[in-house]
C-alpha cells in the first residue's frame, strides 16, 4: 500500500502550490513612457494595469478560491483566456509546480491507473462484497465485487457512501480521554497516549466484570478475537443493533425449535407476500434480495408476483404488483386470515384436519372485512399461494412489524410457509445468516447487570447505544455505574461522550478483516489505504490487552498485528471449510483475488412446525392512530449520518431529503387540517415530539409513519440537528423494543416548516412518461400502453460509423433503490448543495429517479423512472449554445465542455428532460480537506457558472478504448460499464454500442416494450426505456382512469 503523501504529480500538487496562482501574474514594473499617451506595450506591463486587468477578469473567482485550495489554479487557468485576450503583452507566468517522484517506485502503482482491491462492507444486517478502486494509494470509489455470489457487483447506497466517512474531517485523529465529573457528564476531552490507555485498561480488566458490547459482527476472525478475549478475562460478549432481527430468531425458535435467521430465496418464489418486510429497501439484505427479486421478473411471461401488506409506504410496497395498506395491528390478522382461507376454507395442506390449528385460526375468519381490499382479491391471493405451493414466500419483519406481538406474527408467518411447503424451498434454514445475532434481550440483561454493579468495564465497539437505543431502556444511567467505559468510535459522539476513553478503531477501509456473508461463504476484507490517523484496530486493542495481561490463548498474545492473527485464523479455521486441497498461500491469494471463497450451504429441508406455538397467536385490538417507525434507504440506523451524500439523497418513495417527518394519509391530513410541512405534535409512550408533516398517498388512515436514524446530536457538522431522533419514541415491553403499533396522540401546531423535495409534481398528468401495462395486456400486445407517434425529418441527419453509445433502462426491473444516484455522485464529483438550495431547486444530480403515483390517490401505486441525459441525436441543448460548449461527438455522445461554457443556461431551458445542472455557486470550494481526496481525478471538477450533466461516463469509455487499444484488440461488449449500470442490483441499466448488433443494448433496443421518452419531439434520444409490467390480474393499468394521452 503506497502512502497517501506520495502524490499523483498531475493532480495533487496544484493543491500545494496553487497559492502562487494569484501572485504569479504580476511581472516587474518597467519605466513609464514619457509621452502623454502610453504605448500599449508599456501600458500592459504597467503594474496598475495588471492589477486592473486582474480585478476585472480574475478577481471574482480567484477571491473566492483561497490559495490553499486546489480550485484556485483551475479557476486561474480557465481565466487565462480572458486575461490574455486583454493584457496580451503582459505575459502571465504559470504558477510554479513541483513534481515529487517516489523514492522507490511501488510495484503496484501506475500513475492514473486505478488499482482494485476486494473487500467487504457490513452495516449491521447486510454484508456486501466490494471492489474498491484506489489511485496512487487512496480509495476513490466503492463498487460491488462482480465475483461475489450474493450481490454480484451491486452495492447499497450506504456501502458506496461510507467512503466519505473515511475522509470525514471530523474523525478524531488519535486516542482521547474524556474527563467525566461525579455525575459522569463530560467535563473535558484531552488527547491520550495508547500506552496510558492500555495500562489503565489492563489494570481495570484484571478486576473482572468485563463486557464487550458490540454491534452485530459477521467477521469470524473478529468473533474469534473477542472469544479469546472473553476467555482471557472472563468477559461477556453482548451484540446489539437498533435494527436487530431478533423477532425472526424468536419466531423460528418457537416454530421450529432453532433460533436462526434463515436465508430467503426470492428468486425461487413465484408469489411473494410481504407483511411489513421492506426487503427491497431496508430489511435484512436489500441489495441481495433486490437482485433475487428482479431475477424473478426478467422473463416477463413467467414473472413473479409481489403482494405487499404495507404498514407505511415502503420501497417494497412501491414495487408491489398488489399493495394493500394496513396498520401494524392488522399484520397478524392478515397472515392468520390468509391461513384460515387456505387451511380452513380451502382445506389445503397437512394441517387441514388439525383441530387445534382450526381453533387457533377461527378468530380470524372474517378479517378481510377489516382490510381495505376487496375480498375477491384476498381469495385470489390464497388461491395463488396454493397454486404455487413450494414456490411462494411469505415474509414479515423489520421495525414496522415490531409490535408487542412481533414474535406471534413470525409464528403465524412460519405456519403459513410450512402450510405452503415453502420451508426448505424458498426458505433455507441450513443457510442461515451467521452475522445477525444482535439482540435487545441481551442488551436488557446487560443493563440489569450494570445496575446490579456486577459489570465494571464496558468496551463498546461499532454501535452507538446512547443515540439509537430507546432511552426507556435506561442504558445511560446504567452505564454511569461502570468504572471504565472504552469506546472505539471514530468521533466523540453520543456514546463517546459517556465513555472514559475513545480508542478509535481503524476505518473499515483502513483495516484488515473478513466476513462470513452466508453460511460457508467467506469473504476477505482488505485495507485500501494506510491508516490516516493514529488509530488502532479494535481487534489489535483486544490482542494488546491480552498480551499485556499475559492472559488468554496463545494466538491472542503472540501476534503483533491483527493481519497475522487473521492469516493464522484463516489457515486453521477457514481453509478446512472453504479451501480444501490447496496450499494455504494459493488459497489466501485466491481469497484476495476473488474476494470470496467457499459456497453457500445447501440441503435445507422442510422442518416440522410446532402447532402448539399457534395458540399464542391472538387477534390484536387497535385504537386510534398507530405509530410506525421505519428505517430509510439512505440513513439506515443513522450510524453514517455525517455523510452528506446520504442526507441529500432523496427518499425513494417520498423524494424528500435532509429531514425526517411524519407521513400521514390524505384523509387524515384533511381531518387534522394539515398542510405539507406543517409541524405535527406526536405524543407516544409519554414522549412528545414535533415533526413536519408529509402527506403520503396510499397510507393507511390510522398510520403515522416516522423514519429513524435522524436527529443526531454529536455526529458532526452535517448530521447534527437534521431531523428528529425518533428512537426516543420507542417503547419497551419485556426487554423488547416496540417500534410499531403504539397509540399516538396528535396535535396540529399549525406551525409552518419547509421540507426539501427535489421532485416538483407527483403525477404524470396523463402524459406518456412511464409506460405501464398489466401482465394480461402485455401477453396480448407486447407494446401495450404505448402511444406511438408518426415521426419524420426533412433532413437525413449525420451518419455514425464506428461506435454509437446508447443506454437502455428497464422500468420493469428498476426498483428505485437510488444506488445509481450515489454511484454517479461518487464517480463524477457531484457536489452536495444542502437543504436550503435543494428547496431553491439547485440540486446537482446527473441521474435522478423520478417517482410518480398512479391510480386512486388514497391507495396510490408508484412507478419509478431513472432519468439521466438522454444524449439525443438531435440534441435541443446543442443548437442553442452560442459558444458551442455542448456539441455531438462522432460516437453519438452529447459532449458538455465545462471549460468552454460561459453559462447562458439556454441549454438547460431547451432540454425537454431538464437533466442539465448549473453550478450556481462555487460548490467545489466548499469541499473541506481531506474530503477532496475522494474526488475522481478523471472527471474535471466544475467551477462556478458552468453547466454540467451526465456524460455517459465518457472517461470510462475513453479508458476502455485506450485499454483495448494498448492491448491491440477490439472492444468487448459490456467491457465499458457506466457507474450507474455497474452498481444496479437489478441490471435495469444496460449500456453499450448500438452499432454493434450483437451488443446487449442493441438487443434491448429491439424489445417491444421499448420506447423513447417524449418520442414525438424527435430529439432522437440514445436512451430507451422498457415499459413496466404489473402482474396484478387486472385488465388495465391505473393510468387508464387518469386522463389518457391524446
Amino acid at each position: 500500500m503506497s502512502d497517501t503523501h506520495q502524490h499523483d504529480h498531475d493532480h495533487d500538487h496544484e493543491h500545494d502550490h496553487s497559492a502562487d496562482a494569484s501572485s504569479a501574474s504580476v511581472p516587474a514594473p518597467t519605466l513609464r513612457d514619457p509621452r502623454y499617451w502610453l504605448s500599449l506595450e508599456d501600458w500592459a506591463k504597467d503594474p496598475e494595469f495588471q492589477k486592473m486587468a486582474e480585478k476585472e477578469f480574475m478577481s471574482s473567482p480567484l477571491q473566492e478560491s483561497d490559495g490553499e485550495d486546489g480550485w484556485a489554479r483551475r479557476e486561474f487557468l480557465k481565466l487565462m483566456g480572458a486575461s490574455l485576450a486583454m493584457a496580451s503583452a503582459g505575459c502571465i507566468r504559470r504558477p510554479v509546480q513541483k513534481i515529487v517522484p517516489y523514492n522507490k517506485q511501488p510495484e503496484e502503482v501506475t500513475f492514473t491507473v486505478p488499482n482494485l482491491y476486494t473487500s467487504t462492507y457490513f452495516d449491521g444486517s447486510e454484508a456486501l462484497g466490494l471492489l474498491v478502486s484506489t489511485r496512487e494509494g487512496r480509495p476513490l470509489k466503492i463498487e460491488g465485487n462482480p465475483k461475489h455470489p450474493l450481490n454480484k457487483g451491486a452495492t447499497s447506497v450506504r456501502a458506496q457512501a461510507h467512503i466519505l466517512s473515511l475522509y470525514d474531517p471530523e474523525r478524531i485523529k488519535g486516542p482521547q480521554r474524556n474527563l467525566l465529573n461525579k455525575a459522569k457528564t463530560n467535563r473535558d476531552t484531552i488527547s491520550a497516549k495508547w500506552d496510558d490507555v492500555d495500562d489503565a485498561t489492563v489494570k481495570q480488566l484484571n478486576k473482572g466484570g468485563v463486557v464487550v458490547l458490540s454491534g452485530a459482527i459477521n467477521s469470524p476472525a473478529t468473533r474469534a478475537v473477542i472469544g479469546d478475549f472473553c476467555q482471557a478475562f472472563g468477559a461477556k460478549h453482548v451484540t446489539w443493533e437498533p435494527l436487530a432481527h431478533e423477532e425472526i430468531r424468536h419466531g423460528q425458535k418457537a416454530s421450529y425449535g432453532e433460533a436462526l435467521v434463515p436465508f430467503y430465496r426470492f428468486d425461487k418464489a413465484k408469489v411473494i407476500v410481504s407483511i411489513g418486510a421492506d426487503f427491497l429497501g431496508t430489511w435484512m439484505m436489500p441489495t441481495t434480495y433486490t437482485r433475487q427479486f428482479s431475477a424473478g421478473r426478467k422473463d416477463i411471461e413467467k414473472m413473479n408476483k409481489l403482494v405487499v401488506f404495507d404498514p407505511h409506504y415502503s420501497l417494497t410496497g412501491a414495487n408491489a404488483d398488489v399493495r394493500i395498506r394496513i396498520k401494524p395491528s392488522q399484520q397478524i390478522s392478515v397472515v392468520m386470515g390468509l391461513a384460515h382461507e387456505i387451511v380452513v376454507k380451502k382445506g389445503f395442506g397437512r394441517f387441514a384436519g388439525n383441530a387445534s390449528v382450526k381453533a387457533a385460526l377461527e378468530p380470524f375468519a372474517g378479517v378481510v372485512s377489516q382490510l381495505k381490499m376487496e375480498p375477491a382479491l384476498f381469495v385470489k391471493l390464497a388461491e395463488d399461494l396454493i397454486a404455487n405451493k413450494g414456490k411462494s414466500l411469505v415474509v414479515a419483519g423489520g421495525l414496522p412489524t415490531l409490535t408487542a406481538q412481533a414474535q406471534e406474527l413470525q409464528i403465524a408467518v412460519n405456519f403459513l410457509n410450512s402450510v405452503l411447503e415453502n420451508d426448505g424451498e424458498t426458505i433455507e434454514s441450513k443457510n442461515s445468516l451467521p452475522g445477525l445475532t444482535a439482540s435487545y434481550s441481551e442488551m436488557a440483561d446487560l443493563i440489569d447487570s450494570l445496575n446490579k454493579g456486577t459489570v465494571k468495564t464496558v468496551i463498546i465497539h461499532r454501535t452507538n447505544p446512547l443515540y439509537s437505543l430507546p432511552p426507556s431502556f435506561g442504558f445511560k444511567d446504567a452505564l454511569k455505574k461502570a468504572d471504565l467505559v472504552l469506546y472505539t468510535g471514530d468521533r466523540n459522539d453520543e456514546t463517546g461522550l459517556q465513555s472514559d476513553y475513545l480508542i478509535p478503531d481503524h476505518h473499515p477501509l483502513e483495516n484488515w478483516g473478513d466476513a462470513e456473508i452466508g453460511r460457508g461463504l467467506f469473504s476477505i476484507h482488505q485495507p485500501t489505504i494506510r491508516p490516516m490517523y493514529d488509530t488502532r484496530s479494535f481487534e489489535l486493542s483486544l490482542m494488546t490487552w491480552g498480551y499485556l495481561a499475559k492472559k488468554g490463548p496463545k494466538r491472542l498474545q503472540e501476534f503483533e498485528t491483527f493481519y497475522d492473527y487473521l492469516r493464522q485464523f484463516w489457515k486453521t479455521d477457514i481453509q478446512p471449510k472453504a479451501g480444501k486441497g490447496k496450499s494455504f498461500d494459493d488459497f489466501w491469494d485466491e481469497a484476495l483475488q476473488d474476494g470470496v471463497v467457499g459456497t453457500q450451504a445447501s440441503g435445507s429441508s422442510s422442518r416440522t412446525f410446532k402447532t402448539e406455538a399457534l395458540s399464542s397467536v391472538k387477534p390484536v385490538q387497535s385504537q386510534g392512530f398507530e405509530l410506525v417507525l421505519h428505517p430509510t434507504v439512505a440513513m439506515g440506523d443513522g450510524s453514517l449520518a455525517n455523510v452528506a451524500w446520504l442526507h441529500e439523497l432523496p427518499d425513494p418513495v417520498t423524494k424528500i431529503c435532509w429531514d425526517n417527518y411524519v407521513s400521514v394519509s390524505i384523509a387524515t391530513a384533511e381531518a387534522l387540517k394539515l398542510k405539507e410541512g406543517m409541524l405535527l405534535e406526536l405524543t407516544v409512550n409519554g414522549v412528545t415530539k414535533e415533526l413536519p408533516t408529509h402527506i403520503q398517498p396510499g397510507l393507511h388512515d390510522d398510520v403515522l409513519a416516522v423514519a429513524v436514524g435522524y436527529g443526531r446530536t454529536q455526529a458532526g457538522k452535517v448530521a447534527n440537528g437534521v431531523g428528529v431522533n425518533s428512537y426516543e419514541m420507542v417503547g419497551v415491553k419485556k426487554g423488547q423494543a416496540i417500534y410499531a403499533g403504539a397509540f399516538v396522540e396528535v396535535k396540529n401546531t399549525h406551525k409552518k416548516y419547509l421540507l426539501a423535495n427535489p421532485q416538483g409534481h407527483h403525477t404524470m398528468e396523463g402524459r406518456q412518461i412511464v409506460v405501464e401495462a398489466t401482465l394480461k395486456e402485455y401477453l396480448k400486445n407486447p407494446s401495450a400502453g404505448q402511444h406511438k407517434h408518426h415521426i419524420f425529418s426533412i433532413w437525413s441527419g449525420h451518419a455514425y460509423n464506428g461506435h454509437k453509445w446508447a443506454m437502455s433502462v428497464d422500468l420493469n426491473s428498476c426498483t428505485g433503490c437510488n444506488a445509481c444516484v450515489v454511484a454517479c455522485q461518487s464517480e463524477n464529483n457531484i457536489p452536495v448543495v444542502g437543504k436550503k438550495y435543494v428547496i431553491q431547486g439547485r440540486e446537482m444530480y446527473w441521474i435522478r429517479v423520478d417517482r410518480y403515483y398512479v391510480g386512486d390517490p388514497a391507495n396510490a401505486q408508484a412507478v419509478f423512472q431513472p432519468l439521466m441525459c438522454q444524449h439525443c441525436d438531435n440534441a435541443p441543448c446543442e443548437s442553442v449554445c452560442p459558444v458551442a460548449a455542448t456539441v455531438h461527438s462522432d460516437e453519438g455522445l452529447n459532449d458538455m465542455i465545462y471549460n468552454r461554457c460561459v453559462g447562458t443556461r439556454y441549454c438547460a431551458n431547451n432540454c425537454p428532460y431538464k437533466v442539465r445542472r448549473f453550478n450556481w455557486f462555487n460548490f467545489a470550494k466548499l469541499i473541506e480537506k481531506p474530503m477532496h481526496l475522494a474526488l475522481n481525478p478523471d472527471v474535471t471538477v466544475r467551477v462556478r457558472g458552468v453547466m454540467e450533466k451526465c456524460s455517459f461516463c465518457v472517461h470510462r469509455i475513453k479508458a476502455g478504448k485506450t485499454k483495448a487499444n494498448l492491448e491491440k484488440r477490439e472492444l468487448v461488449d459490456g467491457e465499458i460499464k457506466t457507474a450507474c449500470q455497474q452498481v444496479c442490483p437489478t441490471d435495469a441499466i444496460v449500456f453499450g454500442d448500438v452499432n454493434n448488433p450483437k451488443s446487449q443494448v442493441a438487443q434491448m433496443f429491439k424489445d417491444k416494450r421499448g420506447y423513447a421518452l417524449l418520442e414525438e419531439f424527435h430529439a432522437a434520444p440514445n436512451v430507451r426505456y422498457q415499459a413496466k409490467i404489473r402482474n396484478n390480474d387486472q385488465e388495465g393499468t391505473a393510468h387508464d382512469n387518469k386522463g389518457s394521452h391524446s
Partner: protein
C-alpha cells in the same frame, strides 16, 4: 507583437491628420484615436496569426534542483526515454523516474559529483527531489501519453529535441490550436471530439 506595432502605426498616422489649431481639441481627438487603437489592438492581440503562442510558456526552462542533462544521458549514453519514463506506455502521465531508478546506475557511476551525492542523500534518507514542472496543461485537459505512444508518436514530436537539451525547456506551445492542428491531419486518423480531451 506585430499587431501592436501595426496599431501604433495607425495611431501615429491618424494623429498626423491636420486638425485646426485648437490644442485642447487636438488632445481630445488624439485620446479618441488612442482608444480606437486600443480596441483594434485588443481584438487583434487574441489572434494567433499575429501573436504565435503568446502566454503559452513556449521556451519555459526553469532551473531544476539538480541540473539533469538530457543531452548527456540520451545522446552520449544512449539511454532510451522509456528506461526512466517507464510508465509512459501504460499511464496517462509520463512519470518522472523514482530515485531508485537513478540509483540503478549512479550507485557506481560518477558518485563523486556533488549533484549525484545530493540525489544519493535524498535516496538514503527516503526523501525525494522536488523537480520543477515544465510542461503544464490546464486541469480541464485530459492528455493521455499511453494513447499517443501506442499510435507511434515520437516523444520529440511534442517535447522537441530532448536529446540535445542540457536543460529541459518547453518546445511546443501546447495550445489547443496546436493539439487540434495535429489531430486534424487526415493521415493521423485522430478523433476531433471535444470529449477526446475534455470531460
Amino acid at each position: 507583437m506585430v499587431s501592436l506595432r501595426a496599431s501604433f502605426a495607425i495611431v501615429r498616422n491618424m494623429s498626423k491628420i491636420r486638425i485646426g489649431n485648437n490644442t485642447s481639441f487636438r488632445l481630445g481627438f488624439r485620446v479618441m484615436l488612442v482608444m480606437f487603437a486600443a480596441l483594434t489592438t485588443l481584438t487583434l492581440s487574441s489572434c494567433d496569426k499575429f501573436q504565435p503562442g503568446i502566454g503559452y510558456n513556449r521556451g519555459y526552462a526553469p532551473e531544476q534542483p539538480i541540473p539533469f542533462d538530457h543531452s548527456l544521458h540520451v545522446s552520449q549514453n544512449k539511454i532510451q526515454c522509456q528506461y526512466c519514463h517507464n510508465q509512459v506506455e501504460r499511464s496517462r502521465d509520463s512519470n518522472i523516474p523514482a530515485l531508485s531508478t537513478c540509483m540503478n546506475c549512479h550507485l557506481t557511476v560518477k558518485t563523486d559529483s556533488p549533484w549525484i551525492q545530493k540525489v544519493r542523500d535524498a535516496y538514503d534518507k527516503k526523501k525525494s527531489i522536488e523537480w520543477v514542472k515544465v510542461h503544464m496543461l490546464p486541469d480541464h485537459v485530459q492528455f493521455n501519453h499511453s494513447a499517443h505512444i501506442a499510435r507511434g508518436v515520437n516523444c520529440q514530436t511534442c517535447h522537441g529535441p530532448v536529446e540535445t537539451m542540457q536543460r529541459i525547456f518547453q518546445f511546443s506551445d501546447l495550445s489547443m490550436g496546436w493539439c487540434v492542428n495535429c489531430h486534424r491531419q487526415p493521415e493521423n486518423k485522430a478523433p476531433l471530439n471535444c470529449s477526446t480531451c475534455h470531460n
